[in-house]
């Protein structure tokens, strides 16, 4: 049962991350996800000091706000200080992450947090932290409920916002021209990314969570001609790496989060090498199919 709990938690979190990550990589903002995942650390520590627990709703909201603030800072440095985006990201998140590290070391005695947990997560302990109701009923691991709640929020957000996110990602100028607020949807997406990061960091750590945002959707991107296909493939890959990663960790007696991300990396490499159409060893048939309609001939027919 422990194996099931761990795999389920990992799958739920990686699906959340992967779905949001699909938009991040299409916006060429994968590194903003990276930045947020680090920058929420001081928020997590402060919220922890104030509430005394690690999985409260307040903490998720508080830290998520810090993530949105990070996005704002990056935009601000980029626009006002004329700093390149990557430099703005580098300045912002390292500084906030460092602040978080200082807070942890200062309050080490009071905080049930350490650098190791922050960096690598403790998904192996998921089955130990049970939700027990006041009547003594054991409902199963808390992390699963958190992960499920986060996934439902994300799915709701993406269902409502899909079209506007699609338009602001593909052609922001056009989206703005028909009256959609590009920056509103940017901040909403970053808010969702922050919330998911905070919720998931307990299980997979602040660094490896970045991999869940980027690697499965990047793998799916190689295989997709449609955004919806890409998102469905991302869901499939997320479940796949969670299962295979868990058993790899058991086999080598190593870190579960590390093994999951390792499997994700290997999966990416395999798809990159063998993907039909775009892979290195692409099949010849696909290319010849594409060449059958001669664009120029076709155009001339239509014009005359």
């Amino acid at each position: 049962m422990d194996a099931f709990y761990i795999i389920l938690t990992a799958s739920l979190f990686s699906i959340s991350c992967g779905l949001l990550g699909s938009f991040l990589i299409l916006r060429k903002m994968a590194m903003v996800g990276d930045a947020i995942s680090h920058a929420v650390l001081p928020g997590i520590v402060i919220a922890f000091l104030m509430t005394g627990t690690r999985d409260s709703f307040d903490m998720i909201v508080g830290a998520a706000m810090l993530g949105v603030f990070t996005t704002f800072l990056i935009e601000f440095f980029h626009k006002r200080a004329r700093l390149q985006t990557d430099a703005a990201i580098g300045v912002t998140f390292t500084w906030l992450f460092a602040l978080g590290i200082i807070l942890i070391s200062l309050y080490a005695g009071q905080v049930d947090l350490d650098q190791e947990c922050v960096l690598y997560g403790e998904i192996a302990y998921v089955p130990l932290d049970l939700w027990i109701t006041q009547t003594g009923l054991i409902m199963g691991p808390k992390a699963i409920y958190v992960a499920l709640f986060i996934l439902l929020v994300n799915i709701g957000f993406l269902m409502i916002g899909y079209r506007n996110l699609y338009m602001t990602t593909f052609d922001p100028a056009f989206a703005a021209s028909i009256g959609i607020s590009v920056s509103l949807w940017n901040y909403l997406l970053m808010g969702a990314v922050s919330m998911t990061t905070v919720a998931a960091f307990d299980s997979v750590g602040a660094i490896l969570v970045v991999a869940l945002f980027v690697v499965p959707p990047a793998t799916a991107y190689l295989l997709s001609h449609q955004l919806k296909t890409m998102m469905w493939l991302t869901v499939g890959f997320s479940i796949f790496i969670s299962i295979v990663g868990y058993y790899l960790a058991v086999a080598i007696d190593g870190s579960i989060a590390g093994a999951i991300v390792t499997i994700a990396g290997i999966l990416f490499a395999v798809v990159f090498l063998f993907a039909p159409g775009q892979g290195i060893f692409r099949s010849k048939t696909k290319q010849t199919q594409d060449a059958t309609i001669e664009p120029n001939l076709f155009e001339r027919e239509n014009l005359t």
Binding site: F170, A173, F174, G179, Q226, R300, N302
Partner: protein
């Protein structure tokens, strides 16, 4: 030199736009007529794209205002279409030609309303007008530059607007696409719709447009082509550095444009 339009589609009033406190457009004041095919001409960095972006509310204005059909943009947005430069989007984006054209219908749909069968038919119709209906299911990464521009045009048509702002629709397209696009634009103006196009090629500008805006950070001239497209104004806009200018004005003379009273 400025000719005032009789039946006004767009009014620019003392418009100044700056980037980083450095003005890129100075005191633009003009009216543009309904039903005309209007070209915005000027050298690189003259602020041509900035002019239509500021009309679409995509840039903060330092001063002045733009009125469309004598209303604020937000009141008439539904009737205004904007076509960005083709290079501003990622053509490797995982989406199909039809989905891009359907974006033109989304402006009138609510946040959750799905496109109806009618919307898809209109989108297909628009693709047909630009000769791209056979490509509707293709991923956009498989398109050539000219085909990308046609898809953008089809999306604009799907908006069924009355006023179109287009940023360099003729840039980097083949001759066949150029005439296909021109045909569509002329059809739009024949229906009484107004089309405002940023354009950089003087030779073809002389053939394409009814009304010309000559721009070089400030307004050099705005009016019917036969009054504006003269050696004098072109020299003023381009700073006399183009030998091609005199050839162009020769071209105009040869065309012997009839004076267009309707504007």
């Amino acid at each position: 030199m400025k000719v005032d339009a009789k039946d006004v589609a767009v009014e620019f009033h003392d418009l100044t736009v700056s980037y980083d406190k450095k003005p890129v457009l100075w005191n633009i004041d003009m009216t543009l007529p309904k039903g005309a095919l209007i070209g915005i001409i000027g050298p690189n960095g003259a602020g041509k794209s900035t002019l239509i972006k500021s009309a679409m509310g995509l840039l903060p204005l330092s001063s002045g205002y733009v009125r469309i059909f004598d209303k604020a943009l937000d009141d008439v947005r539904r009737w205004v279409s904007y076509v960005p430069q083709r290079e501003t989007v990622d053509w490797d984006f995982p989406t199909s030609v039809l989905d891009v054209v359907l974006m033109g219908r989304y402006a009138r749909l609510g946040l959750l309303a799905r496109p109806k069968k009618e919307d898809k038919e209109i989108a297909m119709n628009c693709l047909q007008k630009v000769g791209m209906e056979a490509y509707s299911k293709r991923q956009i990464s498989q398109l050539s530059g000219g085909q990308q521009q046609r898809v953008f045009l089809a999306r604009a048509l799907a908006q069924e607007a009355d006023l179109y702002f287009m940023d360099e629709p003729f840039a980097g397209v083949d001759a066949a696409t150029e005439s296909a696009i021109l045909e569509v634009l002329q059809e739009l103006t024949a229906q009484g719709k107004t089309v405002i196009v940023v354009h950089h090629d003087l030779q073809s500008a002389a053939e394409f447009f009814d009304w010309i805006i000559l721009l070089n950070m400030r307004l050099i001239a705005s009016g019917p082509i036969d009054q504006v497209f003269t050696n004098e104004y072109l020299q003023e806009a381009y700073g006399g550095k183009l030998t091609v200018l005199s050839e162009v004005s020769e071209l105009i003379k040869k065309r012997r444009l009839p004076s267009r009273e309707k504007y």
